[in-house]
Subunit: 421 residues, 2 copies
């Protein structure tokens, strides 16, 4: 073939717009020089295939934790504004280094802070919410043929103060950019290959889930699955941005998080989750009359304790017990408040049990299937596992059991609900 | 005294505007948590005395070098724009930490990046020049009673790209802010107590200079004194901003760098400098006709080699020798170019000598005193030190000598020109 003609065809192929992908790489994906180079290779590979790319990057490995530690030595109670000023440097370092790594491979790239691409947030420092994104700068750079690299986790107020978005903030940046830019795909790269039916460290036969709905993923995230923060899934759901959660260490496709999964009828339970980070408090001998629960939970809320499950049995005598769970770091505080309330309302003993685990099954299929809860209780009973508390939602059922039974419960539920490979 | 009255008087004293000081703290002054706390104490001390304060900070200790090293591993030839993106994080970390340290002491402070306070530069990344500063944001914050902390070394282009100002950039930030804000003083804090008559590591009897003119300081900086970069002194001179160079580890006053020093008549020589970082190249047997020197030095300039001293003797034969000095890292390149030119113009041998030192005396008093050069040559001759090259300016005389004689030359000149304590 004539070389010129070949060049023309080749260039056409290069510039052909195959679609816009937003890719987000977490801290473990850019933890060191070698990994940054790997990410650069992957990104350039997509670019050569003809995709336009917007890359969102987190801070390198443990950078954020190291900066927090440094700040803590100087002021254990730092100004939130200054904390954001400090922490936002982590992502700024990442984007500059990734741009350099991409340049090294001969491709075009340009990096930006959240402020530079107009990620405007409210003024809630360290927990800011995105108000709007001005996508024009990114669009201009894409048109110039650049791979656009954006610092995750950060934004800027209308007053030009730097803000950060809180835990899972870089996922949020990616989702918000995908929505604003009407991206064809939003890929979340992490150190696992996707969302699994349960934690593979507990059940080696755990399967990677091909497709999962936003609602199921939200439920799983809140019940202990740690791949993604609930907040970014909520935003993805709100704007219907399909997410592809996958590994930055392999080329396999991961898990799609989408609005609706076809053939969901067949699958009743999509995942089994385990949360060992909760503690249970029981307030015994509460007089069974209106207003008692309010008193307890208002006091807890006022003290900033967030309560997860609450169970109060119908009483056959004049008094009853109230049990609830909280995250372990708050258990001492919660017990103190409960004792204080117990004294005031003349209730009995307050019991704190940190030796518990919450095991849950999640699946949108539950909505249209009966007997799922009964089946779960049966499986646990067959394995002589006592259930201490039960809580249900539309698409999940959770049981509190003794911690020592946690792993066996997960494995039995995983098997009996047909999730093993 | 009535307590209320006392409070009123005290508060009045607190809010009384005693003047605006710009203070700049270098990397060694904020190298670790303890030093940052010390700086905070000093700053709060000034604030309590009633001064308004704008603090310019460099990156912590070796942060900048570490970031450069990291970048080099990823791309040995990085984009200058991305380099600025990367390096500017160093100062951003410093300002946030210093603000936290000041808050810890109960004082009010707020930190800003160069971009946030409107330090607008041209687009020469890594070597940007300040075009203008919008001082309004800083003035507003000062009015609110804040100590304003500004990241040194950095600015932003009109297109919102982050830039850095090159070596000594934080000094430049301080000087430019002092000018823009019409500050009453500009203090440059460093790890030495001021400018000395010579390097105290060579001559322990070196004295701290109380006052020195911009011109002398410029001459000393270009001749090897390393306390301040020439560029910020040039700017200070241009806008007549008096500088106070002093130690962040002591309360002693340092050296004032100002326009004119009184009683300068008495002092002929103000300092002795030494520069061991140069090499000498001699091109022998050059035909003594017009155009030869041009050919050589144009080639060197085109290759980016900057030449310091140049000496060509009046020749008594038809050929002559040309000698010049360059900084050592450029000596191999310069020698290669000189050999290439020698070949083209039919000159003789090219000699490279890296075993030299440049010793200089500096003083505005020279302008009005005769015989200073002769005295210098006499002192060197009395000590059997051969002079290989000589160069003079209005306020300085420099000699190239053998490196092994460098220290003794400095000490003898320091003594004979009356600079010993």
């Amino acid at each position: 073939m004539d070389i010129n003609l070949w060049n023309i065809l080749f260039e056409e192929k290069q510039t052909m717009h195959k679609g816009l992908i937003v890719q987000k790489y977490g801290g473990s994906s850019v933890a060191n020089v070698e990994r940054i180079q790997k990410v650069a290779q992957r990104v350039v590979g997509y670019s050569k295939k003809g995709y336009q790319l917007v890359i969102v990057v987190s801070a390198l490995g443990d950078t954020t934790d190291e900066l927090i530690e440094l700040a803590d030595k100087i002021n254990p109670n730092p100004s939130q504004r200054e904390m954001d000023m400090l922490l936002s440097t982590g992502e700024q370092i990442s984007v500059a280094l990734l741009a350099m790594a991409i340049h090294k491979l001969g491709a075009r790239a340009i990096s930006f802070t959240g402020s530079q691409v107009g990620i405007i947030t409210d003024t809630s420092h360290t927990q800011a919410r995105i108000i709007k994104i001005d996508g024009n700068k990114i669009k201009e750079e894409l048109k110039k043929g650049n791979i656009v690299i954006v610092a995750g986790f950060q934004g800027v107020t209308l007053n030009q103060d730097i803000t950060t978005l809180g835990r899972g903030g870089s996922d949020l940046t990616a989702v918000a950019l995908a929505k604003e830019l009407k991206a064809d795909a939003c890929e979340i790269y992490t150190d696992v290959e996707g969302i699994y039916t349960t934690d593979p460290r507990i059940e080696p036969r755990a399967r990677k889930i091909k497709e999962i709905t936003y609602d199921e993923m939200l439920e799983m995230a809140s019940l202990g699955a740690q791949v993604m923060q609930a907040r970014s899934i909520e935003v993805a759901k709100k704007f219907d941005v399909p997410l592809h959660v996958r590994s930055s260490f392999s080329d396999k496709s991961g898990t799609m998080i989408i609005k609706e999964v076809k053939k969901m009828e067949d699958v009743v339970v999509n995942g089994v989750t385990l949360n060992k980070n909760e503690a249970k408090i029981t307030l015994c001998g509460v007089l069974d009359k209106p207003g008692v629960a309010v008193k307890l939970f208002k006091n807890l809320a006022d003290a900033g304790v967030s309560v997860d499950m609450i169970v109060q049995n119908v009483s056959h005598t004049r008094s009853t017990d109230i049990s609830f769970t909280i995250v372990k770091p708050e258990s001492a505080k919660a017990a103190r408040i409960t004792k204080m309330v117990a004294g005031k309302i003349g209730a009995g003993e307050v019991l704190l049990d940190e030796d518990i685990a919450q095991v849950s099954i999640v699946g949108v299929g539950m909505k249209s299937h009966r007997g799922v809860a009964a089946k779960m209780f049966g499986i646990l009973a067959d394995n002589k596992i006592n259930i201490e508390m039960i809580s249900t939602s539309d698409i999940s059922i959770s049981c509190i059991i003794k911690k020592k039974n946690a792993e066996i419960a997960v494995r039995k539920l995983h098997k009996e609900f047909g999730l093993n490979k």
